[in-house]
Symmetry: C2
Subunit: 201 residues, 2 copies
């Protein structure tokens, strides 16, 4: 028997090999570039591989699927946004009263979603939302609802508040029905105030 790693450390799956890490980084960088140069649609897996100077198999080995890749690309911007919710300036970040934070959250999320609509869709593709992003938002809204003293099935109420901010809904309203974003924001705030059971400061 060969000896297992001398430092158990934890039993993290053995860690990534240096060349693998380099390739992942190169691919991700290339992907980001392609996306914001030509849009999501122009990024094909084969072409990305070529650009990054690796074989197609490598792309799939690193990211599993186009969807997985897109999720990583999205993560870059999404992480910033989450940070500003968690620790940015009020009213989106902490410091403001919960109702103001909720309103700020809704508007900010609505605009962000619209901005990255294509990417979010590509990262979602088959319909299984990236657990990470969704659960972050659910938790946050749930937390604010708690602070507001809302009674009821909080997890599901949070989901209900988040649902109208999903890509398909917003895209339909903005791109097909040509509703102005301000109206959507106002309607969402109205919805939130009904759910909370009283709103305006």
């Amino acid at each position: 028997m060969t000896s297992r790693p001398l430092l158990p450390m934890a039993d993290q799956p053995p860690a990534e090999r240096a060349d693998a890490a380099r390739n992942r980084e190169a691919l991700l960088r290339a992907a980001v570039r392609m996306v914001d140069e030509g849009g999501v649609a122009t990024l094909t897996m084969e072409c990305l591989a070529a650009r990054a100077g690796v074989g197609k198999g490598t792309v799939f080995r690193r990211f599993g699927s186009r969807e997985g890749l897109m999720a990583q690309v999205l993560d870059v911007s999404e992480r910033d946004w989450q940070a500003s919710v968690l620790a940015g300036p009020a009213p989106l970040g902490p410091g403001a009263p919960p109702w103001e934070r909720l309103v700020a959250f809704g508007e900010s999320r609505l605009r962000t979603t619209l901005l990255h609509a294509d990417l979010i869709r590509a990262a979602d593709a088959h319909g299984a939302r990236s657990v990470a992003a969704a659960s972050f938002m659910t938790l946050h809204v749930r937390h604010l609802l708690t602070e507001l003293g809302v009674q009821g099935d909080l997890p599901l109420l949070a989901t209900a508040l988040l649902a109208p901010l999903e890509v398909p809904v917003l895209v339909q309203q903005v791109d097909v029905e040509h509703l102005p974003v301000e109206r959507l924001v106002a309607a969402w705030v109205d919805l939130a105030s009904r759910v909370v059971g009283r709103g305006p400061a």
Copy 2:
């Protein structure tokens, strides 16, 4: 110049040729069969063509895309459902007071969506909801809200009520989080009662 059709009738685009109509029907029948025998995933365009005894090009000529085909397949069941909302027995159909109808609508739609989740997704695919189905529901909810004397941006309020009944949301809750359907129904009714501003009979 050749003479145009002798009976103008209306200027409907010349109407479908007999062979075309036959093929459309054969294809649709075959598609329905394949879907409820093997599930949505087993239906490939080429295979469908073969089954119906036509060329692949014909399938695309008739339905435009896989998505378009699926929309037609879905339409078969969806039409029945719409009929029962419009003219079926109360409380889903007319006759019951608006609040009871709204509750019945929510529960019925929730269960129906879950039942046809795959098909709805396949018919939606790129994310552009079939205008027909969506606008039917929006109109209906809007109508009920009006009857209930709800004030505000009705079209958007209706959308907000419909959003948590969308496939991705429900599938996430049921298949990933394993929440029981009854709880989803209860939460939706709660949401509706908040939006309406008082609910229980």
